[in-house]
């Protein structure tokens, strides 16, 4: 604010004009106060406008967000999840599958790092506790289905690996596996038509997993008959189970009875309960 020269009072105009007009400090202060009050009123008004606008915008955005969330959560369930969340898993899986490379391996550990294997469930282990009666049936094979004995599977080169077994729950153990590479089995018994998937079932058909062919052909995917230096125990899936450390533990199906090549994405026990189908690590 600039100081204004006050107008001299009338009475002095008649007489001698003073060289310097008497400064009316009170008038200046009053003018300043009035101007400040005017400014403050304008600022208050502007602040009220901005506050109203800001909070209304935020409230509207919050309502839109909450509404969108409620809508997404209320969609019908598909395999245990609201449809948009199931679809989102599918999108994320496609990204993951396009990034997957079979040359990327699990780190391998020295024998000193091996931990006790943990038993975390007995799904699919109900029937057929006679290992001698056990057979593996391969379906979708060129030239017709094949039935293999344990000895036939053991006749392929024996592979061992010490890798981390990661449960979807969060814990992990380090286990030594010995078995036959799935890629050797697929090479010896190729699919009758190009197959993008492999379905596996326990002997009693009580548990089943679906796998993508790329993961099945991964060099660290074994049909294992030994765990931590000893033949598989009954609880760990004797006589033959899948060891697939590029997947969570739930895909490491025990006591495999049926392996089927297919071009239709196979059913998967836990995927039906809302878990991701792919579960690739």
């Amino acid at each position: 604010m600039t100081e204004e020269t006050p107008v001299p009072p009338e009475s002095e105009a008649a007489g001698e004009v003073p060289l310097i007009a008497e400064v009316d400090e009170e008038a200046i202060a009053a003018a300043c106060a009035a101007a400040a009050a005017e400014n403050d009123r304008a600022v208050d008004a502007e602040l009220r406008r901005a506050t109203r606008r800001g909070f209304l915008t935020m409230g509207a955005a919050a309502a839109v967000g909450a509404g969108a969330w409620a809508f997404l959560r209320s969609r019908p369930l598909v395999s245990g999840l609201p449809k948009p969340f199931q679809s989102a898993l599918g999108v994320t899986d496609r990204v993951a599958m396009s990034y997957f490379k079979p040359t990327r391996l699990n780190p391998e550990y020295p024998p000193s790092r091996v931990t006790r294997a943990r038993v975390n469930g007995g799904l699919g282990l109900s029937a057929n506790n006679d290992p001698a009666a056990w057979r593996l049936t391969l379906q979708g094979v060129r030239g017709g289905a094949r039935v293999l004995t344990l000895d036939e599977i053991k006749s392929f080169p024996r592979r061992t690996m010490i890798t981390e077994f990661r449960c979807i729950e969060g814990w992990s153990t380090i286990n030594q596996w010995a078995g036959t590479r799935m890629s050797d089995i697929v090479a010896a018994f190729p699919p009758e038509q190009e197959s993008r998937y492999v379905a596996m079932e326990t002997s009693d058909r009580g548990y089943y997993v679906g796998l993508d062919m790329e993961s099945v052909l991964h060099p660290q995917t074994l049909l294992a008959y030994e765990l931590n230096g000893a033949p598989l125990t009954w609880q760990h899936g004797a006589p033959l189970r899948l060891a697939i450390p590029v997947k969570y533990g739930v895909k490491n199906i025990k006591r495999v009875g049926v392996i089927r090549y297919t071009n239709v994405r196979p059913a998967d026990f836990w995927a039906e309960q809302g878990y991701d189908w792919y579960l690739g690590l």
Binding site: G54, A88, R104, L105, E169, L281
Partner: protein, 216 residues
């Protein structure tokens, strides 16, 4: 005399307020995942409330649900965070946010002041040293969450990343404690916002802060 001063740019306010529900959803769904194997301890006490409490909160037996939410929201959380960082870089806002050599001394002074152990008030800058350290640390933590998250989510494809954090379980450990860090940050942050008052809080919504300046 009153004056409105610009404080927080529109974009930063949006990034901030969008991040709030996203991070809340990430922590909530993350807790449902943690429920399945709640193994960590604090001061010797297991960080695992009784099953009844989990059930009361509707967070028990929801591992699959929690994962599907976590892997859905993660995209939005990551994109919002990356856009925020790019914004501060390209507009120069980072200059207010990133600590400098003086920030650390200043942060101690601010903390002492807040604890009523020191008279002098913090400098009247947009962000004092303590804030600069906190607001930069939280971004570094966010990056840490993304990287450890990726190391847990795809531990074979990103095995090299896992190695960086001490393996799969190491990455999982860091991922968990970073989250605990967000909760601690949240408590202090909200406390400080309450202390600082309405004018300061309103500025994060409308962008302007009301100042009293001498008449000129």
């Amino acid at each position: 005399m009153k004056r409105l001063e610009r404080k927080h740019p529109l974009a930063i306010r949006w990034f901030h307020w969008i991040n709030f529900p996203l991070l809340a959803l990430m922590i909530w769904s993350g807790a449902m995942i943690y429920w399945a194997s709640a193994v960590y301890r604090l001061f010797g006490l297991p960080l695992n409330p009784p099953q009844k409490v989990w059930q009361k909160l509707h967070m028990a037996y929801r591992l699959a649900d929690g994962m599907s939410i976590h892997f859905f929201i993660m995209w939005f959380f990551a994109v919002n965070g990356v856009l925020y960082v790019l914004y501060t870089v390209f507009t120069g806002e980072w200059r207010y946010l990133v600590p400098n050599r003086r920030s650390f001394i200043e942060a101690i002074q601010v903390t002492l002041h807040d604890l009523h152990l020191r008279k002098e008030a913090p400098p009247p800058r947009k962000f004092n040293g303590a804030q600069q350290i906190a607001y930069t640390a939280i971004i570094v933590m966010g990056l840490g969450s993304l990287l450890t998250g990726l190391a847990i989510y795809k531990p074979v494809q990103f095995a090299w990343l896992g190695t960086l954090f001490g393996g799969y379980q190491g990455a999982r450990f860091v991922h968990f404690w970073l989250t605990a860090g967000y909760v601690a940050f949240f408590v202090v942050h909200v406390g400080q916002v309450v202390r600082a008052g309405w004018n300061n809080f309103r500025a994060m919504v409308i962008g302007y802060e009301l100042h009293e300046v001498p008449n000129d």
